[in-house]
Symmetry: C2
Subunit: 322 residues, 2 copies
C-alpha cells in the first residue's frame, strides 16, 4: 500500500532534504555527479551522442496506472518503461530523465523506497541518468509521478511518414494487458531502433491506447485501413478475459490499452515475408504480424474489415476522460 | 472554478483528440510545426543556441499552488514562471517545454482554455516552444500540471560555487507572497543572465522555499551565514501580514516561500557598493541587497544574527510534506 496510517513511516516524518538524500541513495549511480545530477535549480544535460534530440513525458497515478495489487518496484519500473516505449517508437536511445513526484504526506517511505528501486533497475538496464526533479504535496491518499525522458534518434520514424498504400504491422500480441502486461512488459527499444534504421519501415508509434484508436493516429489523410481480422495477434490474456467480460478476444485486442507494442508501417513494394525473415534473425522471440494495409478511400479515417468491407464495430480506443 | 458540475462544459465531453486539437488552437504559434510540436510519441528538439543544455521540472496543483481566488490565466502563467525562475537561477535562456496534465473528468473546458491562455502568453514573452505533453486522468475535483523546461546557459552559476567568505545578496523584497506575489511576479530571467556573466557572482539560486531554508542550500560546507537583519529587504506584504499573523515581518521574510527572487553570492574581495552601481545601470527598478556573508565556522550550517551572535530562531523554511 503506497500510503500508511503509521506516522513514523510517512514521508511527512522527513524533511525535504532528508527525502532528497534518501532518493539520492536509492538511485545510486543512476543519479550522476554534480552538476548533472540532483542538487541545483536545473540539471545540466551532457550528451555526446549523435542524432536529433527527442523528448517525451508520461505519468503514473495511483488508482489509474497501478493499484495495491502490484509491488512498488513494479510501479516505479512502469513509469520508466511507459516513457521508454515512446522513445522506442522513435527508434531512439534514452539518455536523461527528470522526475516530478506529487504525493500526500501519508506516503509510505518504504513504498517510495521500492518505487525508486524499480526506477533504478530500469535506469541501469537502459542507461538512463535521472538528473533532477521536483517534490510537491497532494492531499493524503494521492500519488502521481511524472517522468520526462530525453533521448537521441538518428532517423526517427514519425507517424506522418506513413504512405498511402503501406502495410500495417504490429509486434507481439494485443489485448488483455490488465491481467498483468500493463506493468509486466519490456519496452521495444531494440526493435524500435532496428526498425527506424530499415528503409522498409516508413512510420512507427507505440500502442498504448488500443489498436482502434492508435491506428487512427498513424493513418494517412484520405486513407482508410483495411484489416484482416484473422491476422490480429491476440494475446492469451485477451482470450482469458473474453470468457468473463462478454467481449470477444479480437475486440479486446483492438480496444484494450497498454499493449506497449510497436505499430509500424512498411512500404507497399516490400514483400512482408522477406521482411519477416530479416526480423526473425534479430528478434526470434518477438512475433511480428502484418495485419492489413492503408488505401486511399472516400471512407477516410475508418478501419475496415476486409471480409465484410464494413467498419469494424469497436473503433473507439481508450478515452482517458470518459 | 477549475471543475464544473455542468456535464456539457466538462472535458469528459470531449475525446482526447478533441482536447489536443483545442490545446493546439489555444497555444497558437507557441506550439511549433511538426516534427517539433505535438503529434508524435516524442517531440524532436531543435536548438542552434550555444552553451550547456539545462533542464528543470515543476508542478502546480489546485489547492496548493493556486485556488479559486486566482484566474485560470494566472494559474497557467504561474506554471511557466515557476520553471522560468529555475532557469533564471542558472543564468539560462529558456527554449522548449513539455507539459503533463493530470485532471479529473469534471475539469472545466473554459477554465482549461484560460489556463492555456496564461501559458501561451508567457511562452510568447519568453520565447518558449511547448513541444509536447501528456494527458492523464485523476478523480473528479483534482488538477495538477507538471512542466519540464529546457534551456541553455553559457556559464551557469551553480550553488556549490559559493565561496567561504562570499557576500550574500538578494534581489527584490522578501516575504508575504501569499498576498499575491506567489503568482503575480516576473521571473528574474534577465537579471539571472546578467549575474551569471559577471565574474563577481560566484553562485546563484532562486528563492522558492524561503530564505531560511534556501540559504542553507547554497551555504558552503564548514561555513555559517552571518546576516544583518536590518538589511533584509522586507516586502510591504510581509509587513501587512505581520499585523494579522502574530509573526514579525522579518520572520515572514525568512520563512514565507514563493518569493521567486534570486539569492546569489559575490566574491569577498568585491566592493558591494560598486557592484550595486553596475546593477542599477541595468536594473534600476529592481532592488539588490547585500544581507550578510559566509564565514568558516564550528557552527557550520547555521544562520547567525550578527547583532546577537546567535542563531536566528526561525531557521526552518517551508516543508512541502509537513
Amino acid at each position: 500500500m503506497f500510503s500508511t496510517g503509521n506516522p513514523d513511516k510517512q514521508i511527512s516524518n522527513l524533511s525535504e532534504s532528508e527525502i532528497i538524500e534518501c532518493i539520492r541513495a536509492w538511485l545510486g549511480p543512476s543519479n550522476p555527479g554534480y552538476p548533472q545530477g540532483i542538487g541545483d535549480d536545473c540539471a545540466v544535460l551532457i550528451s555526446e551522442a549523435e542524432g536529433k534530440q527527442i523528448i517525451t513525458t508520461d505519468a503514473v497515478t495511483y488508482g489509474k496506472h497501478f493499484d495495491n495489487q502490484i509491488a512498488s518496484e513494479a510501479a516505479g519500473a512502469k513509469l520508466i518503461k511507459r516513457n521508454l516505449s515512446d522513445i522506442a517508437a522513435m527508434g531512439g536511445v534514452p539518455e536523461s530523465a527528470v522526475l516530478a513526484l506529487l504525493a500526500g504526506p501519508d506516503l509510505s517511505i518504504d513504498w517510495l523506497k521500492g518505487f525508486f528501486k524499480g526506477i533504478r533497475s530500469e535506469c541501469e538496464t537502459y542507461g538512463i541518468q535521472l538528473v533532477g526533479g521536483d517534490l510537491s504535496s497532494l492531499e493524503n491518499g494521492n500519488f502521481s509521478a511524472v517522468l520526462t525522458l530525453i533521448g537521441r534518434a538518428t532517423s526517427p520514424s514519425l507517424r506522418k511518414y506513413a504512405g498511402e498504400r503501406d502495410f500495417i504491422c504490429v509486434t507481439g500480441h494485443l489485448g488483455g494487458s490488465r491481467l498483468g502486461k500493463h506493468h509486466n512488459f519490456k519496452p521495444r527499444i531494440q526493435e524500435g531502433q532496428w526498425l527506424a534504421k530499415r528503409e522498409e519501415c516508413t512510420a512507427m508509434m507505440d500502442l498504448t491506447d488500443g489498436l482502434s484508436k492508435d491506428l487512427k493516429a498513424i493513418m494517412p489523410e484520405n486513407c482508410c485501413a483495411l484489416l484482416d481480422l484473422d491476422r490480429i495477434p491476440i494475446s492469451l490474456d485477451a482470450h482469458t478475459l473474453s470468457r468473463t467480460t462478454g467481449s470477444s478476444s479480437v475486440e479486446l485486442a483492438f480496444t484494450d490499452g497498454e499493449d506497449y507494442e510497436l505499430l509500424f508501417c512498411i512500404a507497399s513494394e516490400v514483400e512482408f515475408q522477406k521482411f519477416k525473415e530479416s526480423w526473425e534473425e534479430y528478434f526470434p522471440q518477438v512475433p511480428v504480424s502484418c495485419i492489413g494495409r492503408f488505401q486511399e478511400s472516400s471512407q477516410a479515417g475508418r478501419i475496415i474489415d476486409t471480409r465484410t468491407n464494413e467498419s469494424i464495430p469497436w473503433t473507439e480506443g481508450f478515452e482517458h476522460f470518459k
